[in-house]
Amino acid sequence: MSHDGHHSVVIPAPGPEFVPHTVAHHFDTPVQEFQAAKLGFWLFLATEILLFGGLFAAYFYFHEAYPETFRVGGHQLDWRLGALNTSVLLLSSWTMAMGVRSAQTSQKQKTLLFCGLTVLGAVIFMVIKFFEYQAKNEHGLVVFSELFAPYDAATGSIPWFKDYHGVMAGLPHGHLFFAIYLTMTAIHGLHVVIGAGLILWIMKGAAKGRFHAGYFLPVDLVGLYWHLVDLIWIFLFPLLYLVP
């Protein structure tokens, strides 16, 4: 971006391994730039919460309508794996916070290390999630190969819900719990993957020395995003695995 005749504000780099930051032309001060981005990002996080809010509303509505389905359905989930995943995410929130802190104090190697650990946490989370999904697949509670097969109105059976062991037999709309479980965890999982991608992008910038005490805005924002992903899981875990 070149803007004729106007001088931009430049934040100097604290050392040779860092690069200076040029404040966008339409801001007068770095503080203004920082606050604007921060406010915008908080608003964005609010929309994310509202988006999940719709899913939570659906969860509560049907929990109310078919309590027995949700109770038995919840018992089919392995709370130990859920708890393990919760710990992994909580730990990764801590490493992310340390990553942000390291960027704020111009510690390049530490920033890279902690961000790397956070990505590792995301990977572990997704691997565990994969095994959970696989178990559901084996018990016929969510048969992934049949997920998008057409619904047969004549027999009234949902192709992806086979329930091989009959655990939901006799309960009203047994598939509903697993459909909501799948939808909520899959959308959350998508957020984990996006978050990991963003952190990798941060690491690329950090390696180039873009982030330091004078400018760490993107690290801060991605950190916030990661905490939100964590926070949503903190609600999902008890609702799906424990409450029923």
Binding site: H25, H26, A58, Y61
Partner: protein, 552 residues
């Protein structure tokens, strides 16, 4: 800009002849398609929403032509359903919601605040391309077989029909995020980029209106996003949330949908209120009556509108107590709305009224919106609505607000800021004629719909009993007149770009910052960053010379 301006110029061109502005400072496809300048993005939005308006208008004319005879003229039932759905979906999602914030909001809001740009220019460009993506997906959905659910996508029909509901659902989801990002951007801009001295109560009311709109966009749209996503999932893998065969509840869909879509009617109308507030003041050359009342009533509307969605569901079988509450609360929305209407009329009263074409469109708005708002109150009355629900009375009500008020306010704003944006003025005589044609055509279209609606003509039907024929025919003739008026308007506006009749620096004598920047504005809006020292709408500060100085 009377003649061609030398474009390749060194730094800061002389302020007189050939002054550089945002239109001529760079050229070529990418200088537009990749621009981060809020004014250029606004113009691209203007082109986009105008195309959507014309497409939506064409579908409307097809609907009206079809209804010329009781048995229908042009289409079979399925095609008819597709055409009216296309009309509604294009108008709501591609035109009415993004039109004013995307185009005029983008161009004018930073100018009014004395800022160089919006706070997040890249996000602004992303919003625009999300809009484009949504438009492409919506068009794709037509190619893939169309969709016939109405713009409301009610379950369970939207789950069973064999048409391209997933694609249009995706389009709505993407358009939702376009709208969210625009709102988010404007909130941040208003908080962080006000010029020195621009306190909250010195902000022009257009800014207040856009600000209130933005809050609604950010808080309501995500719920629509997840709702259309759930409809798509429901079709793809049968969750069962909305499908009664699978234990779901279609009324839950209606709750989700209207939780967004009632606030959405104010997402649509608040920017229009903002335009009208500016225009009544400038063209009556009088400070606004009840400035703070208007500002706060926008916020009041934003809040109350989250509490009334159930008035769209009086016949859905929701609980009786909920219906009482929703009906009661609906009457409350009318209070801040009426405060605005009265304040505008009081502003015009004893003003030095200049009947310029933007003012004519504004006056047309004042008349039409009074009818649109009052018929809303009629519908909010529970016992009346049980009879009027899903009749042409509802159709006429929301067209009085969405077409007659919002589209007319958009036209008014377009005429008002046209000389500011392009530095040229259109043919005033043609503009006044077109405004008259549009006003007459509009009322001729929708007054018959009020009458036949109150006599029981249901909406969304491809055929009807013969006793309604005269009303339908009157409405169709009116729609043709209305279409002709809009075509004339498009003609003289586009023609003005080629005739290049030079506008004045300050064409109408505005005193807000948008009129104090050079016309057309330079890339960064002001030659010197402005400082605000006077109250808003203080016409004693008007420099009459700027009204007689042609743009350089």
């Amino acid at each position: 800009m009377t003649t061609n301006v030398p474009v390749i110029d060194s730094h800061a061109a002389a302020p007189q002849a050939g002054r550089k502005n945002f239109l001529n400072c760079s050229q070529g496809f990418w200088s537009w398609a990749g621009t981060l300048d809020h004014k250029r993005i606004g113009i691209m939005y203007l082109v986009g929403v105008s195309i959507a308006l014309l497409a939506g208008g064409l579908f409307a004319l097809l609907v009206r032509l079809h209804l010329w005879k009781p048995e229908g003229v042009l289409f079979g039932n399925v095609e008819y359903n597709q055409i009216f759905t296309l009309h509604g979906a294009f108008m709501v999602f591609l035109f009415v919601i993004p039109a004013i914030p995307g185009s005029l909001g983008n161009i004018v809001l930073p100018l009014m605040l004395g800022a160089k740009d919006v706070a997040l220019p890249r996000l602004n460009l992303l919003s625009f391309y999300l809009w484009v993506t949504g438009a492409v997906l919506a068009t794709l959905a037509i190619v893939l077989g169309g969709f016939d659910t109405g713009w409301t996508f009610y379950a369970p029909y939207s789950l069973y029909t064999d048409q391209a509901v997933v694609t249009i659902g995706l389009a709505v989801f993407v358009l939702g995020f376009s709208s969210i990002f625009t709102g988010l951007n404007f909130i941040v801009t208003t908080h962080k980029l006000r010029a020195p001295g621009m306190t909250w109560f010195r902000m022009p009311l257009f800014v207040w209106a856009i600000y209130a709109t933005s809050i609604l966009q950010v808080l309501a749209t995500p719920v629509l996003g997840i709702t259309v996503l759930l409809v798509a999932f429901e079709r793809l893998y049968h969750i069962g949330i909305f499908d009664p065969r699978l234990g779901g509840d279609p009324v839950l869909f209606e709750h989700f949908f209207w939780f967004y879509s009632h606030p959405a009617v104010y997402i649509m109308v608040l920017p229009a209120f903002g335009i009208i507030s500016e225009l009544v003041s400038v063209h009556s050359r009088k400070p606004l009556f009840g400035y703070k009342l208007i500002a706060f009533s926008s916020l009041a509307i934003a809040i109350i509108s989250f509490l009334v969605w159930g008035h769209h569901m009086f016949t859905s079988g929701q609980s009786t107590y909920a219906m009482f509450a929703f009906s009661f609360l609906t009457f409350f929305v009318a209070i801040p709305t009426a405060i605005k209407e009265f304040s505008w009329v009081a502003t015009v009263w004893k003003g030095s009224i200049a009947l310029n074409s933007p003012m004519l469109y504004t006056l047309a708005f004042l008349v039409i919106f009074a009818i649109g708002g009052l018929t809303g109150v009629i519908l909010g009355a529970l016992n009346v609505d049980i009879h009027l629900h899903d009749t042409y009375f509802v159709v006429a009500h929301f067209h009085y607000v969405m077409m007659g008020s919002i589209a007319l306010a958009f036209f008014a704003g377009l005429h008002h800021w046209w000389p500011k944006i392009f530095g040229v003025i259109y043919d005033e005589t043609l503009a006044k004629i077109a405004c008259g044609i549009i006003f007459v055509g509009f009322n001729a279209t929708f007054i018959p719909q009020f009458i036949m609606g109150s006599r029981g003509m249901p909406r969304r039907y491809a055929t009807y009993v013969p006793e309604y024929e005269p009303f339908h025919q009157a409405s169709t003739v009116g729609a043709m007149v209305l279409g002709g008026g809009v075509a004339l308007m498009v003609f003289y506006l586009v023609a003005s770009l080629f005739q290049r009749k030079t506008a004045m620096q300050n064409q109408w004598g505005g005193v807000t910052l948008d009129w104090l920047s050079p016309t057309p504005p330079p890339l960064e809006n002001f030659d010197e960053p402005p400082t605000v020292t006077t109250e808003v709408y203080d016409y004693s500060t008007l420099d009459y010379k700027t009204m007689q100085t042609p743009v350089a």
